[in-house]
Symmetry: C2
Subunit: 142 residues, 2 copies
């Protein structure tokens, strides 16, 4: 989660909403990525999407069933869907997101009968630091 938080801090410096993610395999980091939709002109470029794409490319396969994903914010519906498609083993996330989250909030996607893979989910990991980064970012833009 330290690497994901570092990526989130870098995103803030680029003017992007500060969210970062990492993927690990057997305890080793495979890929780290930050939220970057504005910089990349890509509305799908959330941190989770970027890190899943990077890890799948590096491992040359489209299923990451032995990988764990760490992200500083509760995933949205798009990212929760991608986590299920990628068959991620464990999901660790930081701050909860009542406005846009899809794990504890909104569609609670992993509890839907149309969700075909449910990772083990651990919320609240590094939540204070992840939440502070987001609050500071939005406070500075007001």
């Amino acid at each position: 989660m330290a690497s994901a938080l570092a990526a989130a801090r870098e995103a803030a410096l680029e003017g992007e909403v500060p969210v970062g993610a990492a993927i690990t395999l057997e305890g080793q980091i495979v890929a780290v990525a930050a939220n970057a939709p504005r910089r990349l002109h890509d509305p799908t470029a959330h941190a989770e999407m970027q890190v899943i794409r990077a890890a799948a490319r590096l491992l040359a396969r489209d299923r990451l069933e032995d990988c764990d994903l760490w992200v500083t914010l509760e995933p949205c519906a798009m990212c929760a869907g991608a986590i299920a498609h990628a068959r991620i083993r464990r999901l660790y996330y930081g701050a909860s997101d009542p406005k846009g989250g899809a794990v504890e909030y909104g569609p609670r996607f992993f509890s839907q009968p149309t969700c075909h893979h449910r990772p083990d989910v651990y919320g609240g990991i590094g939540a204070r630091e992840a939440g502070d980064l987001l609050r500071d970012f939005f406070a500075a833009r007001r």
Copy 2:
């Protein structure tokens, strides 16, 4: 929708689940893409994701509020989330997807309070041809 169906047929020839998508702006096609997660080693590479990324890259912006998306199958949660993030104006889709859809089925994402943009939605466009393509594909693999 004819272009999206053509892309779906090409996906089947590549051994990918046959789903295709197109994005139009003022009645002109901006981008066409097919489902390609296996070929690209990218679990996020559904047709809708590929076409949104291509159109955003071409238009050099991360919001496509003046664009319409055409896809041969009801979008899943990942793709419905991406459609909302991209601020797509109108969504036209073909076959319904009771097993994995997120528009009429499962999370019905565009009706969730955590969904921040709802396109106008038109289902059942070219549904018979889109559904036949999927049925033929899965029947041939059994």
